[in-house]
Symmetry: C2
């Protein structure tokens, strides 16, 4: 993803391309593979990468703005920190608790044969499969 696309992505979701947002967006989206992170881990990586530091509050604001805009998804992982994911398509995860690392599983790599029907007038919104790993 090029810088011009970053600007397009921000503008298309009515997010002013400020210096901070562009830097965070470049860091998150200019990569080939999915990136899973917490605000804390992102902050550390941004400090290493960038000359000027971005306020932690801005990182929280930006990550939430990106999530709201649909550019990031949130992944449920055991623990107290919130994990985010640059892969916003429907997919699943391995979780390697040893390394506190999430690994993507393509939606097509898991086929569910039997599923219960949703209770009392509810519908199924989505199905998330979480595979815990051990050594």
């Amino acid at each position: 993803m090029k810088k011009i696309d970053i600007l397009k992505k921000l503008r298309s979701s009515r997010l002013r391309p400020t210096k901070q947002r562009v830097e965070i967006a470049k860091f998150l989206f200019e990569r080939e593979k999915t990136f899973h992170f917490t605000v804390e881990s992102l902050n550390k990586l941004l400090i290493k990468k960038l000359a000027s530091k971005i306020a932690l509050a801005t990182i929280y604001n930006t990550v939430h703005a990106f999530k709201t805009a649909g550019h990031l998804s949130e992944v449920e992982v055991r623990g107290n920190k919130t994990y985010f994911d640059t892969n916003v398509s429907n997919h699943h995860h391995f979780y390697d608790s040893e390394n506190a690392e999430l690994i993507d599983i393509d939606a097509n790599d898991i086929v569910i044969q039997k599923i219960p029907k949703a209770p009392n007038g509810k519908k199924i919104k989505n199905v998330e499969v979480f595979i815990n790993l051990k050594n």
Copy 2:
């Protein structure tokens, strides 16, 4: 589950059956259906139910002791609070975000046909399926 069983359960896991532990255990385990809760919700219910109040730290201590002993499991739910579950068998969940309510799915009610192999020397510990509901 009767009181005698509660005492047995505590003693068998080398947990002294103190007044507080017995009261919490009776509240959690003397019921027919699975009970999903957070420490906050449990605390509120205990305040209503019991004459004398149990310190919040004791509720944290006790819930963790029960979890360590295998009498409770932890469920991953979107949000910042930790959810616990009196159902310690391998099973899955519906999540009704409207009511912030978990609903059990028996392990046999979900059959997975195709699953990817675990990465690089890792093994699969367990598979958790989480079905989000909508109206």
